[in-house]
């Protein structure tokens, strides 16, 4: 038998391919992606817990449970939407708390007598308008998402308890003011974590599971990242940062994915006049709005509308939702869990003062480690298709800054020991500068940067950011430094650094 060159090539390719096939025969677990307990996760997702204590709740909120966009919490027909649920992991049957999660009404120090207790059947069952209903919803919601995250393989930091106040006092005495604050108590390491819900309206946030799940997301991100300050600048007082936007993004994504609805806050949005009845507060699904394209949420303009963490945050949830959708398409029964695991794992890799660029890298790294990188194309495509390209031109020139020192006055008009800078910042390049930040750096022990960084998003070619004086942005959008009382600070030097992801740093020295 004669062999041609073609035969030899064919055989060589065949042998190599055979060897490749053999080497393919390894499990995905070798990448670190251990199998998930799908039945357990599905039970959690369906709130199919079992325990000795029951509750009666409208899940997730009256509007989504009934599909009636006009429904209000005092509507008697809501009794038909109540579901019997279990409340697992309680330390004691007569209090809505365990070693970590503790539900209160007004404050941490609430008297036990005013808190919800089960009825004679051992059930937490209250009218929806009752404050105790809010306590029960808080416990159920927070415990459910905590259990879900743990079932995905993430152990969270429970060294400090988390107190949830469903009708918090301290911020405002106006019951119509609707809000929610999560505080990680970053500075005071002896303080507990707190989630405070405000608003005693017909559409109270305490009646909505979405709110608890979103706020839990803030705790989760800090916990996953070991308190290293994903939004360190925001925690120190800056008005806007990409780190803050990503904080909101991960919090929204967790709530949206676990509910499987791709949006959140239809109930609470009824409190705000800018939302039509039935519209969600935020959506990971495409809508006819600005949040589908990065340039529309990240480009600086004088209206300052994009110096708002929720705009990039909502855009970011759509990117994550695209990735999730792809994984669910591949595996309709289990994909949602694998998507959540990959995205939370990526979140755990984020560094201090993170950025959208860093989130993309973290997603690729998490996919590489968990799934051998099989979703890298999906991840890249999700960002690219929504206008975020990593392939941006490197700019030749640093940004230009013209600044002057402004000593700040308190609310009574008296000079403080804090200074800021009014400035005009210009991008002299022929292309946009990505993620532009102004940073105050102390080079003298007499000066402490208090608000050490402010961010201004993407700055177009030839565009300027103008802060302070008669400018479009007030001085609050600048950095702040302090000097000690009763100390001579004359001549104390500092630096202003202009950073961008694609331009050389500019460093401008200053002296007090």
């Amino acid at each position: 038998m004669r062999f041609t060159v073609f035969d030899m090539i064919v055989r060589l390719v065949g042998v190599l391919s055979f060897l490749t096939l053999m080497s393919c025969g390894r499990l995905v677990t070798e990448c670190g992606g251990t199998p998930l307990n799908i039945s357990h996760l599905t039970q959690i997702q369906r709130a199919a817990f079992t325990s000795n204590t029951k509750a009666s709740l409208v899940i997730p909120n009256p509007l989504d449970a009934t599909g009636n966009i006009g429904i209000q919490s005092m509507d008697s027909s809501l009794i038909n939407a109540l579901s019997d649920l279990f409340l697992p992991n309680l330390s004691a049957g007569s209090r809505l708390e365990n070693n970590f999660l503790k539900v209160r009404i007004n404050s941490i120090n609430d008297s036990p007598e005013i808190l919800a207790t089960p009825n004679s059947n051992g059930q937490y069952a209250f009218p929806i308008t009752d404050i105790h209903y809010g306590e029960t919803m808080a416990y159920h919601s927070m415990n459910a998402i905590q259990t879900y995250v743990e079932a995905l393989g993430f152990q969270t930091n429970k060294a400090r308890p988390l107190f949830v106040m469903v009708n918090a006092t301290g911020s405002t005495n106006n019951p119509e003011e609707v809000n929610a604050f999560y505080s990680h108590n970053y500075f005071d390491t002896t303080a507990p974590r707190t989630l405070k819900i405000y608003g005693d309206t017909a559409f109270s946030p305490r009646q909505d599971r979405d709110i608890y799940w979103h706020e839990f997301g803030h705790y989760l991100l800090e916990s996953l990242t070991s308190d290293r300050g994903v939004d360190f600048a925001g925690d120190s007082g800056s008005i806007f940062s990409e780190g803050a936007a990503i904080h909101e993004c991960i919090a929204d994504y967790g709530a949206e994915s676990l509910s499987g609805r791709g949006y959140l806050g239809r109930w609470i949005a009824r409190n705000f006049s800018e939302f039509t009845a039935g519209s969600p507060l935020r959506s990971a699904e495409d809508k006819n709005d600005d949040f589908n394209n990065f340039s529309k949420v990240a480009t600086f303009d004088s209206t300052k509308k994009n110096l708002n963490r929720y705009r990039i945050g909502e855009w970011c949830t759509r990117v994550l939702w695209d990735i999730r959708r792809q994984i669910v398409q591949e595996n309709s029964n289990e994909g949602r869990f694998y998507a959540d695991r990959m995205i939370f794992a990526a979140a755990s890799l984020l560094k201090r003062d993170t950025s959208v660029t860093s989130l993309k890298s973290a997603l690729l790294q998490a996919d590489e480690q968990l799934n051998c990188g099989i979703h890298s194309h999906s991840v890249k495509n999700a960002f690219e298709s929504r206008g975020f390209s990593s392939d941006i031109p490197a700019l030749a020139l640093p940004l230009k800054l013209k600044a002057s020192i402004v000593w700040l006055r308190d609310e009574r008009g008296q000079l403080t020991r804090e200074f800021s800078v009014s400035f005009i910042l210009t991008n002299p390049n022929s292309d946009r500068a990505r993620n532009v930040r102004l940073i105050l750096e102390s080079t003298d022990a007499r000066i402490s940067p208090v608000v050490y960084q402010q961010s201004y998003g993407d700055l177009g070619s030839g565009k300027t950011v103008s802060v302070g004086g008669n400018s479009s942005l007030p001085i609050d959008y600048s950095v702040v430094g302090s000097v000690a009382p009763n100390q001579n600070y004359q001549g104390a030097p500092f630096n202003l650094r202009i950073k961008s992801e694609n331009a050389p740093d500019a460093i401008i020295p200053g002296v007090l």
């Binding site: 990448c31 120090n109 070991s226 794992a345 804090e418």
Partner: protein, 233 residues
Amino acid sequence: MNPKIKRIKIFWGMMIVFCVLSLSFFSDSRAIGIPLKAKRVFDGLTGGLITKTNLELFIDPPLQTAVNFDALQLANQFIIDNPGLFSIKSYHQLKGETYENPLGTRVNYQVFQNGTPILGFTIQLTVGVDHQVSIVSNEYHPIERVEMDERYFLSVNEILEEHNQRFKLSVADEDEGRESHIIIVGPSYAKAEMGTVVSVIEVGSKQKAPIEAVFSSKSGQLLARRVAKSEFH
């Protein structure tokens, strides 16, 4: 053509098609869980055993801790063995805690000086199933020892007086009487000092929410402040 050779060529042709299809398994459209080739990921830290030079390095819990023995033990040893990577000063202590994460067991270290935490100084390591240790993040910086003699510290009232009563203590239940200390370090590490953390209200401000403020324990200088973020407006 000889039928036998023809059959061989058809066979190899099918093999090529099959192999091309198999290689396409690496594409993005594969379902998770299908066996595929693993790619090892490791940060490439190959320091090996380096002589322990920092004899005063104190790690809590100490070696031989029973809880999560393996991961914590390995992580502690990694820090001790790699002083070039961490440069932990002898007057700093590390306290490690382990957390499970699908990317590997995480060991989080907080850094302290004489029991007082240093804000933002955290080290996070991950220990893989193969016992390889890698760095997730390292926010440690070998700063100078901070003066901790409480005789020179101002009381909270003295600090507030330094600011001409601009701030008053928050009376929210959970804040009342609360005062703690941290070591706070400037972002450029030019300055590190003991800070007194209190919850205050800015007098006359429209902002009613308490501010979590850090003042210099020694001079009363405002070092950091944080207003809780409102969720909607």
